[in-house]
Amino acid sequence: MKRITWRAALSGAAAGTINGLLGAGGGMVLVPMLIGWCGLSDKHAFATAISIILPLCIVSIVVYGCHAPLPLAESLPYLVGGAVGGVIGGLLFRRVSAGILHKLLGALILWGGIRLLV
């Protein structure tokens, strides 16, 4: 079997583990692996990662749903907001500096990590 097949399978396995266990962050693992390890361009890696994460999310949701009722009513306001945000984000695209966003996001994520641990 070709090398990319194995590397992609391992990347997918890593993303699946994080996605199922933590319910988030599969893409944060997958995109760098697809670029650095499987040799995909940034653009293709981003699109390919979505095609991989989507079925993984569905599997995780089904397994969660087998153990406890899914919080469908609680998700609704987030989904409504997400749809609005997606449209705004699409309109603003390329008008904001990605560098500043990454710094802001990194700081926010660190703050969240510390709050969860302390």
Partner: protein, 130 residues
């Protein structure tokens, strides 16, 4: 309807459109700010991802942006590990899962702060099968 949740969803939706971890931010909002139970927050976060990802996937397939040579083996392997780890998450104590997510955030946060604009890759995998 909770307007805080709508606004949080919208902010994370904007960031997701920029390709920046919107999903992780929504998790931080639900767990670190609202102190929601970890399993509930995870289920909401996964549900939140579905519609946006489905829509953008349709565009990406239409524009032939997906490398299926990488996607197919990754999906096959990932489906198995996702099922196993989702089962594990359902059985684990919420506090333990919360700590695990905290550690994950610390690692991702440090990587995010150190991120530099990515150089072009040395070799590129062609999209089509030969």
């Amino acid at each position: 309807m909770s307007w805080g949740a709508v606004v949080a969803g919208a902010v994370c939706g904007i960031l997701s459109a920029f390709g920046i971890g919107g999903g992780s931010l929504l998790m931080i909002w639900m767990t670190a700010v609202l102190n929601m139970e970890q399993q509930t927050a995870q289920a909401i976060n996964l549900l939140y991802f579905l519609p946006a990802a489905s829509i953008s996937l349709i565009f990406h397939i239409h524009n032939r942006q997906i490398c299926w040579r990488a996607a197919v083996p990754a999906i096959l392997a990932g489906v198995v590990t996702a099922a196993l780890s989702a089962w594990a998450a359902s059985c684990l104590e919420a506090v333990l899962l919360r700590k695990a997510f905290g550690v994950f955030l610390l690692v991702i946060g440090v990587l995010e702060l150190r991120k530099k604009p990515s150089p072009p890759p040395k070799r590129q995998v062609p999209l089509q099968n030969q």
